[in-house]
Each structure stands twice: as C-alpha cells, then as structure tokens.
Amino acid sequence: MVKFSDEKLKKVDEIVARYPDGKQKSALLPILHLAQDEFGGWLSVDVMDYVASLLKLEPIEVYEVATFYSMYNLKPVGRYIFEVCQTGPCMIQGSDNIVDYIKRKLGIGVGETTPDGLFTLKTVECLGACGYAPMMQLGKFFREHLTPEKVDAIIEECRQTAATNN
C-alpha cells in the first residue's frame, strides 16, 4: 500500500495551504514531484491514485497531468538519470558527442537503463544552461561544461555514492 510518511503528509498539507480553499488541485504538480521523489523515482498507477485520493481528485485528473509534463516518469528508471540537453546551443557545443560517449560508456541507448539499475540515459530539450553547454541534469542539479573526462568522473561519483548508501 502506497502511503506518505507522517512527515511528508505534513509537507502535503503545507503545500495545499498555499492555494485558496477548495483549490487544492493547484497542489497537484508539487505533490507529484514529492511522490516521485518518495516512491522510487517514477509514478505508478498506484501512486497516482494515491495522490488523487489525497487531493480529492478523480484519478483521470492526475493521469492527464502526469502524462503531459516531461519530468514525471511513467515507468521505472535508474537510480541516476542522465538528462542530456540536445537543443541548438548545446548541439553547437557538442552535445551529440556527449550523448554518444555516455551511450558507449554505459552500453545503453537513449531511454534505456543499465542492467544494474543504476543509470538511465535521456535526451531532453533546452534546460536553460545554454551559456554553460554541453550540460545535463542529474537529480536536482545541473552538470555543465561537460567533457568525456567529466562524464567519467560523474559516473564514478554516482557509483561511489550508490556503494556507500547500500
């Protein structure tokens, strides 16, 4: 059974309170972020149904939103998601080479996850770091001015973090 901890439920109330009474649907995007972070990095139907019940919405109201926004994952993903920008300004600075390098290094294609479940590779559209290209999003933060060496270091860093936390 999917359920937030008491602490997270308090956070849910806090978010809902930002909007006028009866407009709790406005909290949907922030709560879906919270749910995705809490329940394994993606939104299963169970999770979406749970969010619907929390906000007193019909499940379809949650599904239609979750499928619209690109940051919600609708299937399981790796622990670390490399989201490499490939729009014009990043392309000029060689984002294609970075994507190719990651593919070779991890042995996966775009949209795939490594068999150990650690890494997923995604290509994304402009993330607003055009002056610091090429770049990718990794979790909450941006990794900018990417080079193959930097990518190596990031992969190593993720492996280390995963090993320490297990």
Binding site: P30, V65, I92, Y132
Partner: protein
C-alpha cells in the same frame, strides 16, 4: 561601462542573504512604495519608466498593470513567470540564483501596486535547486517584516509562494502557466477573456517575467522618469542578455540599449569575440523563436545603419531583413556551424513542446522536423524546401497561442536567409554528411533573397 541597475551588486559577497542585501540598500524601494506611495502612484511610476515586458513580448508593463480588473470583494493575484525555457535564455535563472532578494523586493512592490495578497512564482521544474534559494529569501524577508500581515504597519498583507512546474516550455505562455498553476495540463486558453479579467481561479491576474519584476526595484529607487532616460526611444532602462554559442565569454550581461550588436559581440566587456579565431556566420539575437540573421544583416540594418541592441533596431527591416529582441537569448553561430542542423534541433524542440491542442502546430511541428531531418541527413529533395516554407506559413497565425508562430519563424528565417545551404544539402547528399557548408557569402553585404 554601461549603467547597471539589476546586476550592480551581483558580485558583492553574501548578496544572496538578507543582511548584505539590506545593507547594500535593499528593500529601500519597498519601504518607499509602501510608506510614501499609493498603489496607483507605484503603477504610474512604472508607466513613466517605459518598462517593457522582459519575457519576450515587450508589452509595456505599466499598461498591462492598468488593465487589471478590480471588482469589489474578488482577490487579485500577481504571478511571476519564472518558467524560463526559450532556448538561448538563462537570465532569469541568474537573477533568482544570485539576487533572490531583488526579485522578492520587486514582487513585494508589484504586489502592493496590484493589490495581490497571495503572489506566486511559477518556476520551471528543471531549476530544481532554485526554489530552496527563493524560499530561503522569502523566509528571511518575512522574518524581517517585509512579508506577512500588516507589512510596515501599512495594513497591507502579502505572502509569496513558489510553485514548481514539471517540464513544459508551453507553460511560459501566460494562460498555459495559469492552467498549470491550477493543477492542469498546460494548454493555453483562448483570449479573451484576458488574465487581467479572468486569470488564475477565474480571478483577475497579472503575469510578469522575473526580470520585469526585478526591474521595478531600480525604477522605484531612481524614479520612472530617470529610468526612462536610460536607453533609447521605447527601449528604456537596461536589459539582461544571456549570450551563448561560439563566443569567448558566454554568460549573462546587463546592457543599456544604446550599444551596437558589433560591440556586444566583439568587445571584451561582453561576449569577447568569436571563439577560436573563427568568423561570425549568423546569430539568433532574442531566443530561438526569433528570426536568425546572417552576419551581413546582423551588424548593419538593410539601410546600412549600425544595428543596436534594442527593441527597435533589432526588428528594423521587419521579418524579411530584421529580427527581434525577444527574451534576450543571444545565440551566436560561427563559420563551422550548420544552419540546417541547428534549425532541425529547434524544430525538434517545438515539436516536443507543442501542447497538441491546435492541429497546425501539433502536426506541423512534427512534419517540419521530419523534413529537416531528411535534408540534414542527405535524404531531402528540392521540393522539400518549398514544402517547409508552405508548412510554416500554414502554422503561423493559425494557433491559439504564439507557440505556433515561435515554431514557424526559425524555419522561415533559416530558409529565407540560408536557402543555398539547404539546396547544397539536397545537391550533395554524401558531402553534407561529412562536412558543413561553411561561411559561404553570409558575411558579405549581399542583397537578401526573399522567397515568394
């Protein structure tokens, strides 16, 4: 050195925190507005400043504020558009990351002018670390009596909330943003009714860009008339430009709008010239949606005048021979860049970001991407170029929101100015896979061919 009004304190150590911001003169504008001015006087000051929306459309901010309906007993809202997503644009991120209190102060003054007691910052989801910075600044402002109930004993109440989006360029369009803030898909609304009458939760709403709202602070500090003296014509004040691409010093610059494009690209104060000693081929001066210009039309207008970094000069020549200030996302391409491939990445961007409501945009963006992909990979036909022209024309003006236009313009401008490069791809299907067309004649002052 041009005058700096927004970033003048950006390098002061600790300016992100309340203490230093306040010590450096922060919240003086808020104090002045709330203690000594009526809301209408604040709006008048913004009107006098000539400030134009910094998100891309360039609509006069004071006028937008004056359209806000004020029916009795209905709450009104100010919403800050921090959904910065236009390729090439990363100025709002800089402001929020390094000068959060400048934005909070601007929001407070603007909320006072508009009577918004609950103000929202809608920030793009990918800027995932910035809400913490903003919420910290909001908490500090509140602890020091600048937010909450009865601010400065004036009886004015105001709260500011951060609302995170989840990855959708379309939510930068104000009615899509409002839908998203209501917890829905970001489908733009048909206007009218305009948000000023019926916005978020059907209440009167003003949506302004981050930089616009930050600019309200210096306007109050120096006065609207003084602000209007900076710059030229209807391009008053200063503008943030985020520069990227093949330049030596990518980054965010504050300019007063009298400098020339040439100075902006080549002077060490700004972009520092083209990287690696290459030559300039083309530039998209205002974010990916605005027309790309070849070097010969970028530095000088078609009349042979020096092109300046302001609203009027950048659009001099109209769409056939000019471009737009847009959001200030300045993308520079050197002689080694392929315009076809660059245009393809933009077409892919718009296909990905189309909300799918209107058929011309939903179908047209995908179709343009496919054709461009064919041309780029040597599988195109001559007739494809005319087909692309035809498709973009049928998207433009035929959609609910401007995303359709934004998708059409880059393709139109690329064909208009670089048609020979497209044709070269078609004629040399093998060669185009291994090398780029190069500079060709684009740096020469040739007459520009406009397709019929």
């Amino acid at each position: 050195m041009g005058r700096k009004l927004l970033l003048d304190k950006a390098n002061v150590p600790g300016i992100r925190g309340y203490e230093v911001y306040r010590r450096e003169g922060g919240y003086a504008a808020a104090e002045k507005a709330l203690k000594n001015m009526t809301p209408d006087q604040v709006t008048d000051e913004v009107k006098k400043s000539g400030l134009r929306g910094r998100g891309g459309a360039g609509f006069p901010t004071g006028m937008k504020w004056s359209f806000l309906a004020k029916p009795e007993g209905v709450p009104r809202h100010l919403v800050c558009n921090a959904d910065e997503s236009e390729p090439g644009t990363f100025k709002d991120r800089y402001l929020m990351e390094f000068l959060p209190h400048l934005l909070i102060e601007g929001l407070l003054v603007s909320s006072y002018a508009l009577g918004s007691k609950a103000t929202y910052i809608y920030i793009r989801g990918e800027y995932a670390w910035i809400p913490d910075i903003l919420e910290q600044a909001i908490a500090e402002a509140k602890a020091n009596g600048w937010l909450g109930k009865n601010i400065l004993g004036t009886g004015f109440d105001c709260e500011i909330y951060v609302h995170r989006g989840a990855g959708a360029y379309i939510c930068g369009e104000e009615t899509a943003l409002i839908e998203s803030l209501e917890g829905k898909r970001g489908n733009p609304r048909i206007k009218p009714p305009f948000p000023a009458v019926k916005g978020v939760w059907d209440r009167p709403t003003v949506v302004n860009n981050v930089e616009t709202l930050a600019a309200v602070v210096p306007i109050l500090n120096i006065g609207g008339e003084e602000y209007a003296k900076i710059g030229v014509g209807k391009s008053t004040g200063t503008k943030l430009i985020s520069a990227c691409g093949n330049i030596n010093k990518p980054g965010v610059f504050e300019i007063d709008m009298t400098i020339s494009v040439e100075e902006f690209i080549y002077s060490d104060e700004y972009c520092g010239g083209i990287a690696n000693g290459k030559r300039l081929k083309a530039c998209i001066p205002g974010g990916s949606s605005v027309p790309i210009l070849p070097a010969n039309l970028l530095l000088k207008t078609v009349k042979g005048e020096t092109r300046k970094m302001n609203y009027e000069s950048l659009s001099d020549g109209g769409f056939p021979k000019g471009s737009m200030m847009g959001s200030g996302g300045f993308i520079v391409l050197d002689e080694d860049q392929c315009v076809v491939k660059h245009t393809l990445t933009l077409a892919r961007f718009y296909r990905h970001e189309s909300c799918g409501q209107c058929s011309p945009c939903r179908e047209g963006t995908g179709w343009m991407e496919k054709i461009l992909k064919n041309i780029e990979t040597g599988k195109g036909k001559k007739s494809d170029i005319d087909l692309l022209w035809d498709i973009q024309r049928k998207i433009e003006g035929n959609t609910i929101c401007p995303l359709g236009d934004a998708a059409a313009w880059p393709v139109a401008a690329a064909i208009r100015h670089f048609r020979d490069e497209f044709e070269w791809h078609v004629d040399n299907p093998q060669e185009c896979l291994v090398r780029n067309y190069g500079l060709a004649h684009y740096a020469d002052p040739l007459e520009v061919v406009t397709p019929a």
